[in-house]
């Protein structure tokens, strides 16, 4: 069956911060770009980021991007690529100034400069100078301010935004690269092939594989799912960040900025327990560590509630002035979802799935990488990945707070620059065969034609339950092995599930089915890699293998859809500075 084709210089899939930043770079240079977004761009989940964006501006005290790089590497439990974090931290100040010039309404200091707050894992002088204030903030709505600013700039640059278009699958080119994508106009149901010299995946996270998550309904890992089905690998999928402060029972995020401003966690005895686990950084230790500490408190019966299932985040001592000017959004969320006013009462919180450190492996230009049969890295022609769906890897085994907003704009920009340069050099439009275009529609056709079968809803609920129970903050080989078996059975069932509603106009049941295919790929990769990595590092913490083992596991691991894995070395060669030494984290 033949479908309409449209050709572009670049097609960007995802209208969040990363996608819009890349689009701005290219549209501003007069390139023919299309941004596909399954929601109107300002509804993308960047909008929910709260605390801020890290950059060593030095507005509060002396700062140095090398210190930022050091913290990022230590936070990653030595698993971030040093060339990538060097690029990110070095370009951070320029990237933030650009956002400011675009109009982002950062909070300000008396001298008119951008306000910066303390955040987890941020230190001065290579960990020796105490806590750093490096996180540039627009009150506690930094992501909202950033996403709207970027969208506004895209209006100014007259970018082509395909709002409410859903990307189904990547189309392979004759030379083995990527030639574009099959997408559906959600309003009409029409299927179109978008052919592009560069296809940039910017689809964000996939936190919806878990039952309890800070992520939006739309965070379903569409980019990584598409990459896997195109025969490309994902990497480090066992590394999922659990944010220490999601509102108990709801999952809504409460920013680390609360602790950055001076808030802290309490157990049922009213003890500030982080002082015990982390005498130096206390509540501002890395997220993986704080989450594990909270989980230990709850496991040992010092949590609150009849089931000891949450702890408290106290901030009333900060006073009305600070809360209303620096944390107004938090106050609103706490009142709405937890029924408490943080001016008086602490907020019930619990570690909640928040961020996918893994994703599509890329270099720091955003070019997607695969591993060939000889185990060598190979750049995938025509494909880029940026933001949470990518694994550059700047976060390694654990991301520092406020490095994700930085990641999306730095690498959104970098990919835009790189694609722009390559277009100037003269990039040919990749050609796909009719078979390749048809192949990318097989999955869609399967959903459209299957009439009898299980519902998506049931399988999704079971998948999320397995992930929550067997692949949470603490993991154990004994439960992960059966967990993986359960997921494999669910994947098999999903192949035979059916869609009842086959209508064309805004058929969300169809999109949720397509999304579940992606979620399942991600859940399975996570389970396989979590079983495979028999050590504890960063966010991956196993009772049965409690120690970090650099001799065996200081490496990235790529995984293909069939479960095949390939090791990739962690980059220890920054371009300008001396390599950072691998060492154990101190608390």
């Amino acid at each position: 069956m033949s479908i309409p084709e449209i050709a572009f210089d670049a097609v960007i899939i995802g209208g969040g911060g990363a996608g819009l930043r890349a689009s701005l770079q290219l549209a501003g240079a007069g390139r023919k770009v299309a941004v596909l977004s399954k929601v109107f761009p300002t509804r993308s989940h960047t909008v929910a980021a709260q605390g801020g964006i890290n950059a060593a501006l030095g507005n509060m005290e002396d700062d140095d991007w090398r210190w930022h790089m050091y913290d990022t590497f230590m936070g990653s439990d030595s698993m971030a690529d040093q060339d990538a974090i060097e690029y990110m931290c070095k370009n951070a100040p320029q990237t933030v100034y650009e956002l400011e010039h675009m109009g982002l309404p950062f909070s300000r200091l008396e001298n008119g400069r951008i306000y910066q707050r303390a955040f987890g894992g941020q230190t001065r002088d290579f960990g020796k100078g105490g806590i750093a204030h490096r996180t540039c903030a627009a009150a506690d709505r930094t992501g909202h301010a950033m996403l709207h600013t970027l969208y506004q700039q895209n209006i100014k640059a007259k970018a082509n935004i395909f709002s409410e278009w859903y990307a189904v699958d990547l189309v392979k080119s004759r030379n083995g690269g990527i030639a574009g994508v099959i997408a559906i106009n959600m309003e009409t149901g029409e299927t179109v092939y978008l052919n592009a010299k560069a296809t940039i995946l910017a689809t964000g996270g996939a936190g919806r594989i878990y039952e309890s998550t800070t992520n939006a309904f739309t965070n379903t890992g569409d980019g990584p799912g598409m990459a896997m089905r195109a025969g490309l690998p994902l990497q480090d999928m066992e590394m999922w960040q659990f944010h220490p402060t999601g509102i108990a029972g709801v999952g809504v995020l409460i920013t680390e900025g609360v602790r950055g401003e001076g808030g802290y966690l309490l157990n049922k005895d009213g003890e500030r327990y982080m002082e015990r686990y982390s005498p130096q950084l206390k509540d501002l230790d890395c997220r993986d560590f704080v989450s594990r500490s909270s989980m230990m408190e709850m496991r040992e019966g010092r949590g609150l509630g009849p089931k000891s299932d949450h702890v408290l985040l106290k901030l009333d001592h900060l006073g009305e002035e600070i809360i209303n000017t620096r944390l107004p959004g938090i106050r609103e969320l706490a009142k709405t979802f937890a029924g408490v006013d943080p001016l008086r009462d602490p907020i019930p919180v619990v570690p909640t799935c928040h961020y996918m450190m893994g994703g599509i492996p890329t270099n720091y230009h955003g070019q997607a990488i695969t591993v060939d049969n000889d185990g060598k890295d190979k750049i995938v022609d025509g494909l880029y990945a940026i933001g949470e769906c990518a694994c550059v890897s700047v976060h390694g085994a654990n991301r520092l707070g406020a490095n994700s907003l930085l990641d999306i704009v730095v690498f959104g920009r970098a990919s835009g620059i790189h694609v722009g340069e390559r277009l100037v050099e003269g990039l040919d439009m990749p050609v796909a065969s009719r078979d390749d275009i048809d192949a990318a529609q097989v999955r869609l056709n399967r959903w459209n034609t299957t009439t009898d079968g299980e519902s998506v809803e049931v399988i999704r609920a079971e998948m999320r339950k397995v992930m929550q129970e067997d692949f949470g903050v603490f993991r154990d080989g004994e439960s992960m092995a059966p967990g993986l078996k359960k997921l494999e059975a669910l994947q098999e069932r999903l192949q035979h599930a059916a869609l009842k509603d086959k209508s064309e106009v805004f058929n969300f049941a169809r999109f949720e089915a397509l999304e579940l295919d992606n979620l399942m790929e991600i859940a399975l990769s996570t389970a396989r890699q979590a079983n495979h990595r028999t050590e504890s590092r960063g966010a991956h913490s196993r009772f049965d293998c409690p120690d970090r083992d650099d001799s065996k596991w200081l490496k990235h691991i790529a995984i293909f859809a069939d479960g095949r894995m390939a090791d990739r070395a962690v980059n220890m060669k920054p371009n300008e500075v001396e390599p950072l030494q691998v060492k154990e984290r101190e608390h």
């Binding site: 929601v39 109107f40 300002t42 509804r43 993308s44 989940h45 909008v47 929910a48 501006l57 933030v96 100034y97 400011e100 010039h101 675009m102 109009g103 309404p105 950062f106 909070s107 300000r108 200091l109 008396e110 001298n111 008119g112 400069r113 951008i114 627009a138 709505r141 909202h144 301010a145 709207h148 506004q152 700039q153 209006i155 100014k156 309003e187 939006a216 309904f217 739309t218 709801v250 809504v252 995020l253 959004g329 609103e332 969320l333 709405t336 979802f337 519902s455 809803e457 009842k500 509603d501 209508s503 064309e504 106009v505 805004f506 058929n507 969300f508 049941a509």
Partner: protein, 240 residues
């Protein structure tokens, strides 16, 4: 939800699927709050969707910050994800946002709303070369943006505004005017004069009759009427 609080809701929802319906109709669903996993109206809609996956509505962040799930709830516009079930009566009527064309069920075509937003030129304009670092702005100047920049473009305000219903193509509507004021008042923007000139026709600003439905419904607690008054004041100062 405990059993003592268990309620039987009667939810009447506006349905229209252009693939098969000639005209819209209201469909009624019975929902037992014990089956609802959550405290918000959006969670009720999820229960309905388990049995009837054909019901279409937009959603994303489920915490009132993305602005996807604006709808008309018992006659008043709001976001389903931050509308608490306890604050609603047992009989709930849900319709799409008024004044915009319905595409399917609770999904409206928002292009007119977005076009008006774009007409407000919602981006910083400054013809001076940017400094190497940030443009300076005092905390007092920055504070003027509070109450303006937080808009989530959910369209609850504009679609509750009679002036917008009558002239959706000419009156900019409260949401767009809030953004117009956000850039007029930003100390870093120096296109004030051009902005004011562009706003001064018989419709764009002046169709606001201070009905204040926008203020009443805004889920973020913003005050577009106040912003419109501020624009008007600037126009008067400019004009005299």
């Amino acid at each position: 939800m405990t059993e003592a609080q268990a309620r039987k809701l009667k939810v009447s929802v506006y349905r229209y699927n252009p693939d098969k319906d000639n005209k819209p109709y209201m469909q009624s669903y019975d929902v037992d709050t014990q089956l609802v996993n959550g405290q918000m109206l959006l969670d009720v809609l999820h229960v309905i969707r388990v049995d009837d996956p054909t019901l279409g509505f937009r959603q994303s962040c489920r915490e009132g910050v993305c602005g996807s799930d604006g709808m008309n709830i018992n006659g008043k516009n709001g976001l389903a994800c931050v509308t608490k079930i306890v604050d609603l009566p047992n009989k709930i009527t849900i319709r799409p946002l008024p004044g915009l064309p319905v595409v399917r069920d609770l999904i409206v075509d928002m292009s007119q709303f977005y076009r008006q937003y774009e007409k407000a030129e919602p981006y910083l304009q400054n013809d001076q070369p940017a400094p190497a670092k940030e443009r300076l702005q005092s905390p007092e100047e920055r504070a003027k943006l509070d109450g303006l920049y937080e808009c989530i473009l959910c369209a609850c305000c504009s679609t509750s505004c009679p002036s917008f219903w009558w002239n959706p193509d000419k009156f900019l509507g409260p949401a767009a005017l809030l953004q117009a004021e956000r850039f007029l008042i930003d100390s870093r923007d120096n296109a004030t004069e051009e902005r004011l000139t562009a706003l001064d026709d018989a419709y764009k600003v002046f169709r606001c009759r201070s009905i204040m439905n926008c203020v009443d419904v805004c889920p973020k607690g913003l005050n577009p009427t106040k912003a419109i008054a501020a624009i008007r004041e600037k126009l008067i100062q400019e004009g005299t």
